[in-house]
């Protein structure tokens, strides 16, 4: 187990190093961040002074080693734009994204898995066909467009929900969350649903495919022969046997939702991390870009780790292998 963890951490470090080099080279290839930020009224001397002040006149490898050295001392640097430590900048926006992503995943799971089970259980029924048609829409319609439709319908035409932004927050476990109040929910429900739509389609199809396959297997027939109720057959034996791919996809989707909810955050003006990173890229705010991507790498590694541990819980055969 310890060996397994160490292996994962080493993997993460390799990815972080590779990724930070790519960002440095990428920004370098685009050009000097100062040229994007500088005021048109600046003269040449001021431009030179600024480039010098931010160390952008030094060779690239030197800039990179200064950065790595600081990072090893726990300092990821300050944003060029805000002059705030990047970690606290990113962290201040993390709760908004976290609650949005979790709400979206919850919607996708609570709706998607039952629908998928049903449409796999009764694949020929009309309702199953309707569900499948819906799932195709879920991942084929672009989310910014769906987002705009949702806003037009529920905020502009019906006036039931706000068109964007985040509701009032209360502090829970050191994080400002808005899902603690009903008003907060009125703000989160549209973006969360919009974000959930793609995952919903994915989970329905995944669950259905697994269910169809498993329903015809021997152990389902045996379970039925034993006289178990249908709900037990499906809810216990089928669900458990199709859960490995579902958990895998769930983990990956959770990670990408947390890291790249950009489109939904933009359309609904949700003050999350996705908007921060896009804004940082457009002004070449390198410290924020690098720090954010490093966090994303760790996030994915962490989620994959949890997924692996859950595998073991779901399927004893995997546990045995990992232990050996």
């Amino acid at each position: 187990m310890i060996g397994f963890l160490i292996q994962r951490v080493l993997q993460a470090l390799m990815v972080v190093i590779a990724m930070s080099i790519i960002v440095f080279l990428g920004v370098y290839a685009i050009g000097n961040p100062i040229d994007v930020m500088i005021d048109p009224a600046s003269d040449q001397a001021l431009r030179e002074a600024l480039i010098h002040r931010y160390g952008l006149d030094r060779p690239l490898y030197e800039q990179y080693f200064v950065f790595m050295n600081n990072m090893l001392h726990g300092d990821l640097g300050e944003s060029f734009i805000y002059r705030l430590p990047v970690l606290s900048l990113i962290w201040s926006r993390f709760p908004a994204t976290l609650e949005l992503a979790l709400t979206a995943m919850m919607i996708a799971t609570c709706v998607g898995i039952p629908l998928g089970l049903w449409s796999g259980y009764k694949p020929e029924s009309l309702s199953a066909k309707a569900i499948m048609a819906f799932s195709v829409l879920g991942f084929s319609v672009p989310s910014f467009w769906v987002g705009l439709l949702l806003i037009m319908t529920f905020a502009v035409e019906l006036g039931w929900l706000p068109s964007g932004g985040r509701g009032p927050t209360t502090q829970v476990l050191g994080m400002n969350l808005s899902i603690t109040s009903l008003e907060g929910w009125s703000y989160i429900i549209l973006p969360a649903f919009n974000l959930a739509l793609f995952k919903l389609g994915l989970l329905i199809r995944l669950t259905r495919a697994g269910t169809v396959e498993v329903m015809s297997s021997d152990y389902v027939r045996f379970a039925r022969a034993q006289g178990l109720s249908e709900s037990k057959v499906v809810g216990l034996h089928v669900l458990k046997n199709i859960s490995i791919p579902i958990v895998t996809v769930f983990g990956l989707e959770l990670g990408s939702t947390l890291a790249f909810a950009v489109v939904t955050e933009t359309v609904f003006n949700w003050p999350g991390m996705g908007k921060l990173i896009i804004d940082s890229i457009t002004v070449l705010d390198r410290p924020v870009m690098v720090a954010y991507l490093i966090l994303v790498v760790f996030l994915f590694v962490l989620i994959n780790l949890v997924v692996d541990l859950v595998y073991g819980q779901l399927d004893p055969r995997i546990r045995v292998k990992a232990a050996s």
Binding site: I34, S42, A45, L50, P162, V267
Partner: protein, 526 residues
């Protein structure tokens, strides 16, 4: 969302509060949905336009500007040069900071001294670079010594925000963002802010200027155009800025909104690279040639004549613009009212190209921004089609500003178009940067990447920079405008207009040429 609403008890209370907070126009609260906001609450951190726009509510500037960027008194009631290199500013008496302390010349001096210490990559030192030394003559009089004669100092000082000297030299962005150091003299007091989020302000009842109708102002940052328009239509905000052209067309039929159109300081200008060799060579009959055809004034004139500006405005910008014949509005200081409109004459353009030795035209790469100003990408594509009619093959590349500006700075373009706004309202800002020969020693021509150099223009600009007499200086800059525009050092195309929209009959928004949306100029309609 830093503000923690303590929702006491029942959900009913939460819902009631919800309708109040999310609700529509209440006479006392103004909620604005704006495209961009500040990067910090420190007014000396950045020259970013939206930063100044937001912080004007909290901090006052020494000199203020009206809706056409003409100067008017701010915290200084008057100013005059007392010798060639000294300006005297009389400071308004009886002005109180939000913490109750009184404004004196010391605070102004402190603010000028503070800028070089704290400013960031969009450096505010551009507004203080002419200052050699500041002296407090008496409690309400400040003498500013300049390094050389500096006739435009009052123009620079429309961005000189005055902070209280009590905040101390140590205060940085964090202290300002938390509100601790956000102590100004402005019409509104700071309540809360978070980067890219909402700025919340409340009325300063002891403001020295006009009494404010709004008890509370919420400045929401909504960069996405559709999201901003939806926020207005759903009633979440009372007004929005930068209405896209397509929405503007629809809004004119919509009975529930008012629109307000303003000329802007932003112009889309073409820049032909006139250096000996082009970074991207032009092709004639598919073969690269070494010569730079753009050096020939006939070619530049031909390209100019091939531009149908009226069509650009009517079709590409949906009417939200004006044909341009110089780089800034002609009523700005140094603008030239005598320049004629630029004609559209395709036959003459073809003739000139033939005269210049390119009867079959040539092929050239053309770069421009696509996300900086409304319509920039579309104008770019349209221009290349207009030139095609004159026989030129122009490969238009509309780039994101993030890619465009570094490449432009490195001199990688042969022909480009980008926006320029004359934010100080006078000519030296624009022509000094764009058409003076690039000269790091003088600090002039910093954005002259096209290699244009005309000794006559240089001489006029340098003379203008040290002429204190307004009438004489105005004449010098008018001449600069005339000569450089006739040379086609840059080719102006269109002036952009921008649009605000608000709920029908709720408020009036006085349009400003600098596009600033200022709560204290917005009045409820009674």
């Amino acid at each position: 969302m830093k503000q923690n609403f303590k929702l006491g008890g029942s959900l009913v209370a939460a819902l009631v509060l919800g309708t109040v907070l999310g609700g529509s126009v209440s006479a006392q609260t103004l909620t604005m949905g704006l495209r961009a906001g500040p990067d910090s609450i420190d007014p000396h951190w950045s020259t970013l336009g939206s930063q100044a726009e937001a912080l004007r509510h909290i901090f006052d500037t020494l000199v203020m500007s009206d809706e056409n960027l003409g100067l008017k008194p701010g915290l200084a009631t008057s100013w005059k040069p007392i010798d060639e290199t000294t300006w005297e500013f009389k400071i308004r008496e009886g002005v109180k900071f939000h913490d109750g302390s009184e404004l004196t010349a010391e605070d102004v001096k402190f603010s000028i001294d503070r800028i070089p210490v704290v400013t960031g990559p969009m450096s505010m030192t551009i507004y203080t670079k002419q200052v050699a030394e500041t002296k407090v003559a008496d409690k309400y009089t400040l003498h500013v010594k300049t390094k050389a004669p500096a006739p435009t100092l009052p123009n620079d000082f429309i961005r000189l925000f005055v902070v209280s000297k009590n905040v101390g030299m140590e205060a940085r962005n964090e202290q300002f963002n938390s509100g601790k150091a956000a102590i100004g003299t402005g019409p509104y007091k700071f309540v809360s802010w978070e980067p890219k989020g909402d700025l919340v302000l409340e009325r300063n009842d002891s403001y020295w200027g006009a009494k404010q109708p709004w008890q509370k102002v919420i400045r929401k940052e909504i960069p996405s155009d559709p999201a901003r328009m939806a926020a207005l239509k759903s009633g979440q905000v009372d007004l929005v800025n930068y209405v896209p052209a397509t929405d503007y067309a629809a809004m004119q039929k919509d009975k529930s909104v008012d629109t307000f159109v303003a000329d802007s300081v932003y112009f889309l200008n073409l820049t032909p690279n006139v250096k000996e060799t082009l970074p991207r060579k032009v092709k004639v009959d598919g073969k690269e040639i070494d010569a730079n055809p753009l050096r020939d004034p006939k070619v530049r004139e031909a390209m100019d004549l091939a531009i149908d500006r009226k069509t650009l405005v009517r079709v590409v910008l949906e009417g939200l613009g004006r044909p341009a014949n110089q780089l800034m509005p002609s009523n700005f200081f140094g603008g030239n009212k005598n320049l004629p409109e630029r004609p559209y004459d395709l036959a003459k353009a073809k003739q000139l190209l033939a005269d210049a030795g390119y009867p079959k035209g040539f092929e050239i790469d053309f770069h421009c921004t696509n996300n900086r100003l409304p319509g920039d990408g579309a104008v770019c594509e349209a221009l290349s089609q207009m030139w095609a009619r004159a026989g030129l093959k122009v490969n238009a590349n509309a780039l994101n500003g993030t890619v465009f500006f570094p490449a432009q700075q490195k001199g990688e373009f042969s022909l480009w178009m980008s926006g320029w706004g004359t934010l100080t309202g006078e000519a030296s800002y624009t022509y000094g940067s764009l058409v003076h020969t690039a000269d790091p020693q003088l600090g002039l021509g910093a954005f002259n990447k096209q290699g244009y150099s005309n000794p006559e223009v240089d001489k006029l600009l340098q003379e203008g920079a040290r002429t204190m007499d307004d009438t004489k200086r105005r004449a010098l800059f008018e001449k600069v405008t005339e000569v450089s525009m006739n040379d086609r050092a840059l080719i102006p195309t269109v002036q952009i207009q921008t649009v605000w929209a608000a709920k029908k009959g709720a408020i009036t928004i006085p349009p400003r040429v600098d596009q600033e949306t200022l709560a204290y100029e917005i009045k409820p309609k009674s």
